[in-house]
């Protein structure tokens, strides 16, 4: 694209009162005459007005260009991780007495964090596959970042059972390995279902992520080979010799669609099964039928919030304003409001039923929650209600700063929710003689903090090894859609996939 062309389109879009910092692709631009065609609100910033080369340059910059700040950041994460690992190793050698747990509270902050991470993994792939299947055109640039989030939060979540069990060195007893004594895992146990569900989900979502990566890997590979970058070594292998032939694209599309459907079926089952770790017990406060859907909705709620937080951070750090736009945050925020409403409704249902029936063993737990964790409850419930109100305003949804803090608040609330599901129930069990209290120890704090650092670390490494923006999908979106003029209005036309 010539500089003259860029200027022209720049002026054109600026004149139309839309986002002036973008440039229209020539073939799209011909449809739009800013004099006669008013800008369509909400759609404008879905277009990518960059030439293919400029777009590639722009989106591959995070991959090929690294600043010193990045190394400092990763070093900082490394320190936090090392701290967590150190405490964990000490706990492994000395015993779980290093945690704050005691009878009858056998599960504490570790399990709460495990549920949190599994929950966080739910948005990426679900959002990605739902948006793929509903053919939402705005989804394109955010897919990769969301899917990567799923994979990495699952990897972090997968560590927690190891951290939590008493004899981590014997954890292979849970694997269905053939052995001389014919000992077999107990498939009646919800933990085994959990183990299987998370294994399947992790395999599925990593495959999903990888298949989606293929065309972009090829672009990055070509560039790495051309510039003799060290990344060419693994990119060559991982791109599987992708050349962009017709047959490759057709197989790729079929495969992504197929995986999207499969993942959409698996994902809700995973968090349902995680909820069954609690609901299948006969412990009052856990043993409720609502837990399955409640957990799934909670997972999607915290997940979408985390996707938004992540998008805002990525966009800010890597200057991806052209690609991850206000529109995307806006659309995701609308999704978030919907899920927030459903989640709040579920919470209301759960609370209301217990409060009305006032069964002593169940009400004791809620009463204790109110006494001991009232501040937490306010952050969780108040935060959720406040967020729903705030995000009803378009202005808030389109403000990056506001959305950043709102989504952080959502995830704080959701972490608290997990903590309140695990802890007060166990401190106030059926046997009132054993009622107790619990506070996590410094070991637990360090390990949990380390897990957050580990997640950020994995993500930071991923950004430097793989293209973070779904380039192929964005380009496809540009190709298959355009504006048509009908009288005085511009109408979006899109080829159905």
């Amino acid at each position: 694209m010539s500089s003259e062309n860029i200027k022209r389109s720049h002026a054109a879009t600026a004149g139309a009162g839309s986002h002036g910092d973008v440039m229209a692709l020539p073939e799209l631009e011909t449809y739009r005459d800013p004099e006669t065609m008013p800008a369509r609100s909400g759609y404008d910033d879905a277009d990518i007005f960059l030439s293919e080369k400029e777009f590639n340059d722009h989106t591959l910059r995070p991959l090929f260009t690294t600043t010193p700040a990045y190394f400092i950041f990763v070093l900082g994460l490394g320190i936090v991780m090392a701290n967590g690992l150190g405490w964990f190793t000490y706990q492994l050698f000395v015993g779980l007495g290093q945690t704050g747990m005691h009878e009858p509270l056998f599960w504490g902050a570790y399990i709460a964090t495990f549920v949190f991470w599994v929950g966080l993994s739910h948005s990426g792939t679900i959002v990605s596959s739902i948006l793929r299947l509903t053919q939402a055109n705005w989804r394109r640039p955010i897919l990769r970042a969301a899917e990567a989030m799923t994979a990495f939060s699952l990897m972090v979540a997968g560590l927690f059972p190891l951290i939590h069990v008493g004899r981590a060195w014997r954890v292979y007893y849970m694997f269905p390995l053939p052995n001389q004594r014919m000992l077999w895992p107990n498939f009646k146990s919800p933990l085994m279902w959990d183990f299987c569900a998370i294994g399947i989900y992790m395999t599925g979502s990593i495959t999903f992520l990888y298949i989606g990566l293929l065309p972009d890997l090829a672009v990055a590979r070509d560039r790495a080979i051309a510039s003799n970058n060290w990344r060419r070594h693994y990119l060559k292998v991982l791109a599987l010799g992708w050349r962009g032939s017709h047959r490759e694209w057709s197989v790729y599309n079929k495969c992504s669609l197929f995986l999207a459907v499969i993942i959409l079926c698996i994902a809700p089952s995973v968090h349902t099964i995680v909820s069954w770790d609690f609901a299948m017990t006969m412990t009052p406060g856990w043993h409720t039928t609502i837990f399955g859907p409640y957990f799934v909705v909670g997972a999607i709620y915290s997940g979408i919030a985390a996707v938004i937080t992540l998008m805002i951070v990525l966009r800010w750090i890597f200057n991806l304003d052209n690609v991850i736009r206000t529109l995307h945050i806006d659309c995701l925020a609308k999704l978030l409001v919907t899920i927030a409403l459903i989640w709040t409704y579920f919470y209301f249902c759960e609370f209301n039923v217990v409060w009305y029936s006032h069964k002593p063993e169940e009400w004791a737990i809620f009463e204790w929650q109110g006494e001991r964790f009232s501040l937490f409850l306010w952050i969780m419930i108040g935060g959720s209600v406040l967020n729903i109100f705030l995000m009803s305003w378009r202005r808030v949804r389109r403000s990056m700063v506001a959305m950043f803090f709102i989504t952080l608040l959502v995830n704080c609330g959701m972490y608290i929710e997990r903590y309140l599901i695990v802890v007060p129930v166990l401190t106030h069990r059926d046997n009132a003689y054993m009622w107790t209290d619990y506070f996590p120890s410094i070991t637990e704090f360090s390990v949990i903090l380390g897990s957050f650092a580990y997640f950020a670390f994995l993500y930071a490494i991923f950004i430097k090894l793989f293209p973070i923006v779904t380039m192929a999908d964005v380009k496809e979106g540009v190709l298959i859609s355009g504006d048509m003029r009908l009288g005085r209005h511009a109408v979006r036309l899109q080829v159905k996939e």
């Binding site: 000395v94 009878e103 599960w107 004899r167 014997r170 849970m174 017990t281 059926d430």
Partner: protein, 241 residues
């Protein structure tokens, strides 16, 4: 379905009764249990944190206000439920129902997910938060019939499995059935008021069978449907636990 009368398949169905009207909360059973089963003494600090590992504990309930105070004692140990909630949730089969109606824990198989402890309504399962630590002369009084437990595994009352084994072996060697009262868990043996009775409930002549059918029998948390093998006896007074 298991019932009391499955003698055709299994010769023994162990059961225990604890007479709450006889129990005076002296705690001798707790000490006996601790000595018999090599239960770790966790020390003052850990006990304060709530990590004491008494397989059998005396729960003390105080009713009323001074001066009209009634203290009631409830010896609480693993109830050896027929429908044990702890068994089904263990991912590695470390705990299961043995053919004699006991709920047993396989130490070597346990990986310490602690799910069983979370699903036990009686809160009678204990976790080894640290390695057990028998120093100096303490190690001389360890029971050689009972294995020491490593850190990171669950343990609980076994109804003195080692004594049951020994009793059954002796009976087998002599070519007879185990006689009533021949096997005594440490707690029953020690109880000065004879509040604890242990026996084979499939044997209709046994003392425990008689006590269970005396009309004074209650089970703890009966609404949970766990059907425990440990049963409590109480007087006809309604306000007794």
């Amino acid at each position: 379905m298991k019932s009391f009368n499955y003698k055709k398949q299994n010769d023994y169905k162990w059961a225990m009764t604890i007479d709450l009207d006889r129990c005076n909360g002296c705690g001798a059973c707790v000490v006996a249990c601790q000595a018999e089963n090599n239960i770790a003494t966790v020390g003052e600090k850990q006990a304060e944190l709530g990590r004491k590992m008494h397989w059998l504990r005396i729960e003390r309930y105080i009713e009323g206000t001074y001066p009209d105070v009634k203290v009631r004692f409830l010896p609480m140990m693993c109830q050896h439920c027929d429908y044990a909630p702890c068994e089904s949730v263990c991912p590695v089969w470390a705990t299961y129902q043995n053919p004699e109606g006991l709920n047993v824990q396989v130490y070597n198989r346990c990986i310490g997910t602690r799910f069983c402890g979370n699903n036990c309504p009686y809160s009678v399962r204990y976790f080894n938060w640290y390695d057990s630590n028998f120093e100096g002369p303490e190690s001389n009084q360890l029971n050689p019939d009972v294995s020491l437990r490593e850190k990171g595994i669950m343990e609980k009352c076994t109804m003195c499995m080692q004594r049951i084994r020994r009793g059954k072996d002796t009976a087998k060697d002599e070519g007879r059935d185990v006689e009533d009262g021949e096997i005594q868990p440490a707690c029953a043996q020690t109880c000065p008021t004879n509040a604890i009775t242990f026996g084979n409930i499939n044997d209709h002549e046994s003392k425990v069978h008689e006590l269970v059918h005396s009309g004074r029998m209650i089970r703890l948390f009966e609404d949970k449907g766990t059907h425990p093998s440990v049963m409590y006896l109480k007087g006809g007074v309604a306000d007794v636990i």
